[in-house]
């Protein structure tokens, strides 16, 4: 009761102009980190999955690299990837914004994981569909575009989205290198004397506002997939 009344009395000051500005900016940063990292990661993951299954012998070295990349980055904690990108770019003397470093780290992880999810989607397409396309002289890319991707993406999208929702939560780690996203903003506000309960409750709602719509979309896609499983 005491806590509640003290929080209530703190609210007008907490939701002042500058704090709202800070929270708004942090919210947009988290959103931008999530969206740019996830979208670029998903595209790269798709490309990696396509490359990994390519039949051409000329692409063999590239296929190996793709596999190495996928296997490596799926096994490294996100924080380590982030530090790796941070220190490698520092060592190379590159002057890159912290935000960009965080986006690159998210991109790397998201690419590796979605590549694996999409690969599972490819494997879910019956071999008979690949064979039917092969005997009709469809090339690899035409088979993917016309037959396999419509099938594979439908089954890969819900798990891919579930994974990306998880990744949004991981963007909090970008605070470790000083990117001013939601978690970093929370830390800064508590250090300025606002009560942690109020600050983190606000941050929680803002994270929820980002990930909930995406999770809903995933569920909607899943339902649609269920309704037209054999299309």
């Amino acid at each position: 009761m005491m806590l509640l009344s003290s929080l209530l009395s703190e609210m007008p000051r907490f939701f002042g102009y500058y704090n709202l500005l800070l929270l708004g900016q942090a919210f947009l940063t988290t959103l931008a980190l999530s969206v740019s990292g996830c979208v670029s990661g998903f595209c790269a993951g798709l490309a990696l999955a396509v490359l990994r299954r390519a039949p051409s012998r000329a692409l063999l070295p590239l296929r190996w690299l793709a596999m190495l990349f996928i296997e490596a980055f799926r096994r490294i904690p996100f924080l380590v990837t982030l530090m790796l990108v941070f220190f490698v770019t520092q060592a190379m003397g590159l002057d890159i914004a912290l935000f960009t470093i965080a986006v690159v780290a998210i991109f790397l992880i998201a690419a590796a994981f979605t590549a694996e999810i999409i690969r599972a989607g490819f494997n879910a397409v019956p071999a008979a569909q690949w064979q039917a396309a092969a005997v009709m002289n469809f090339g690899y890319l035409a088979t993917l575009r016309l037959i396999v991707l419509p099938h594979a993406l439908r089954s890969a999208l819900p798990p891919a989205i579930a994974y990306l929702v998880m990744l949004i939560k991981d963007t909090a780690l970008a605070s470790q290198i000083g990117v001013l996203e939601l978690t970093q903003a929370a830390r800064s506000l508590t250090s300025r004397g606002y009560s942690a309960e109020l600050v983190y409750a606000t941050i929680l709602i803002l994270y929820f506002a980002i990930s909930y719509p995406l999770a809903r979309m995933g569920r909607w896609l899943e339902k649609r997939h269920g309704a037209a499983r054999h299309r």
Binding site: V135, M136, N137, A142, I147, H151, H230
Partner: protein, 244 residues
């Protein structure tokens, strides 16, 4: 010149030989049926000819041109001229009946879309599905799906059509409609190599029948001869069991 010339063909899966030297020459317009027990190599012969189970030895020539199964170009050339219909239909699940038939001519053979769609509709009409053009495979019965698959193969204008047990996955009451379509094609003079367990049908449509056993053609004769007086003891035994 034979349409299809198979000489001493061998093939297998993972070191297990299935075909142990098959030789067969199919003339233009001929319908040659392959019969025999399960595991005798009938389906493997068809799959080897089209390169799904690449031959390990022997040779295949189409219209006098030898096929090199290790060369993608040669395989492409072959598959431009030979089509196969599978036991399980293998229709593209994400496409309508019309698109299943039209997709390869448009996307692979690069023929004009309008012309192809008209032809696809006509072919589907011919197999009795003129009113189901927009249906997805899951909305069709097995017999209807198999007829779409036949129309899909015909749209490629194959020089040789391979039919791999096309009625084996169908409910008994749906077998007739598919066999009628094939009988119709045989009457049109399309060269066909047919694996079937429907002996009445084989007898009716084939110009010659090959009885296969243990990866070889044990006996090859006109249907009337083979069914009336088989020479090979295994053929005698097989026919005594399946023809009543």
């Amino acid at each position: 010149m034979a349409q299809l010339d198979i000489a001493d063909l061998t093939a297998g899966y993972g070191g297990t030989p299935i075909l142990r030297g098959v030789s067969l020459s199919v003339a233009r317009g001929e319908v040659v049926s392959l019969i025999g027990r399960s595991g005798s190599g009938k389906s493997t012969l068809l799959r080897s000819v089209i390169g799904l189970t690449p031959p390990t030895g022997g040779s295949v020539a189409l219209q006098g041109t030898p096929i090199d199964y290790a060369s993608r170009r040669s395989l492409r050339w072959l598959r431009d001229r030979v089509a196969i219909v599978f036991q399980q239909f293998n229709l593209f699940q994400n496409l309508t009946a019309l698109d299943n038939v039209a997709v390869a001519p448009v996307q692979v053979q690069k023929r004009p879309r309008g012309e192809v769609r008209d032809e696809a509709a006509a072919l589907l009409g011919r197999v009795g599905l003129g009113d189901r053009l927009g249906a997805y495979p899951e909305q069709l019965s097995g017999g209807q799906q198999q007829r779409v698959a036949i129309a899909r193969a015909l749209a490629l204008h194959p020089a040789v059509l391979l039919l791999d047990e096309v009625t084996s996955a169908l409910d008994p009451e749906l077998v007739g409609e598919v066999l009628d379509v094939i009988g119709d094609l045989a009457g049109d003079g399309i060269t066909m190599l047919v694996v079937s367990h429907e002996m009445g049908f084989v007898r009716e449509v084939s110009t010659r029948v090959a009885f296969m056993a243990e990866g070889r053609i044990a006996e090859l004769a006109a249907p009337a001869t083979l069914f009336a007086a088989p020479q090979d003891p295994r053929a005698q035994d097989f026919l005594a069991r399946v023809v009543r």
